[in-house]
Amino acid sequence: MFPQTFDYTAPTTLDEAVKLLGGGAKALAGGMSLIPMMKLRLASPEHLVDLGRIKELNYIREESGALHIGATATHYAVESSPLVRTKCPLLAETAAAIGDVQVRNMGTLGGAVAHADPSADYPAALQALEAKIVLRGAGGDRTVSAAEFFVDAFTTVLNEGEMVREVIVPVDTSGVSYQKVPQPASGFAMVGIAARVKKAGGKVTEARIGVTGLTNSSFRATAAEKALEGTNGSAADIQKAAALVAQGSDANSDIHASADYRKHLAVVYTGRALIAAMGRAQ
């Protein structure tokens, strides 16, 4: 399986990359989605800009109460980083659930986010964490929330010539859990639920639920979050809240799972994620 011919450039600075992207080139990060698509000729870019040699895009650092993660940090870097594991465990645990070890060694956070696969794992966590995504284009940087960023299947707010530069997640002390139903061959999430819960005085003070795989785009299940906040977080409270997770959603249907089954999975896995998160909440 050979992709169509293309030009290849591997710049070493971000400015150079942005200039090339402005000229119509396609960004290549880890290539774990793009290269299979090119081999199947579902994508045939004429010019690839390899971001893999841009050192200023590959970092994980803490800055004023948040973790800043460069676009080309690999899933393995995110999953194994002591900083992410201790200060934003939801993101580390989600990264560890992606694909397989070879994919996590190559695939990148920025690439996965920009690709916006409806079954990708990261979007659930980024929604639940209310993450910010920094985009770089010819005109400089702009920052958007995860909720704004993901628009539809494989569709984001990225404009022509723009790229993902960085993802910002808060330092997070909630109880968290990511629970997914992997498609057995690909490992993609048929449904994936990222949950965060904070408790004080025996009451749930904050609940955040990010959903991926269910619909064309990831989302926050705000009705379920509201139903849980203010309760004791008992099994019955969780069950009531989880029942709302798929309400009104236009669920995807394919050979792996019908829309009704996906909705059912979303309810069950929201329950599991919330129970696990509640158990870890202080």
Binding site: M1, F2, P3, Q4, T5, F6, D7, Y8, A10, L28, G31, M32, I35, P36, M38, K39, L48, D50, G52, Y76, G99, D100, V101, Q102, V103, N105, M106, A185, S186, G187
Partner: protein, 154 residues
């Protein structure tokens, strides 16, 4: 495009098309046919090699991306005719039947042990999720990885 790589400690340099996949470079340009082309869709892991210390599927990257990298393939594991510990363990524990998946299995297993000196069964299975064995020999493979880890720890 001219690329330079170090494969199993030897220098290689070729002029290649950007679309040439690394697995084809290894097999056809470098004449190292130990890494196998199984599914070609990033699922089976038979093409797994080590790139700058990380196990990757060489069917899902372009040779040009590996320019300047240090690569180890299955051919590079044995030293002076002495098998690598993981190879030895696969032999002793019958971790293969037909052997097609074995080069990839061994490279992925090496990564597991490099990162975790005493992996549990569950950790081994998690680490081998990217490799398929159609002879369904998984239990023997898991035994082999455990044996290799134990031998390396001695």
């Amino acid at each position: 495009m001219k690329i330079h790589l170090t494969i199993n400690g030897k220098n290689y340099s070729h002029d290649v098309e950007p679309r040439l996949l690394l697995i084809h470079y290894l097999r056809e340009n470098a004449a190292l046919t130990g890494s196998h082309v199984g599914c070609e869709t990033s699922l089976c892991g038979a093409c797994t090699i080590e790139l700058d210390g990380k196990a990757v599927k060489s069917c899902t990257m372009f040779a040009v991306q590996a320019d300047g990298a240090k690569i180890t393939t299955i051919e590079g594991l044995a030293n002076d005719g002495k098998l690598h510990g993981v190879q030895e363990a696969f032999w002793n524990e019958h971790g293969l039947q037909c052997g097609f998946c074995t080069p990839g299995m061994i490279m992925a297993s090496k990564q597991i042990i490099d990162r975790n000196h005493a992996p549990s069964d569950a950790e081994i299975r998690h680490g081998l999720e990217g490799n398929l064995c159609r002879c369904t020999g998984y239990q023997h493979i898991v035994n082999a990885v455990k044996a290799a880890a134990a031998a390396a720890g001695k």
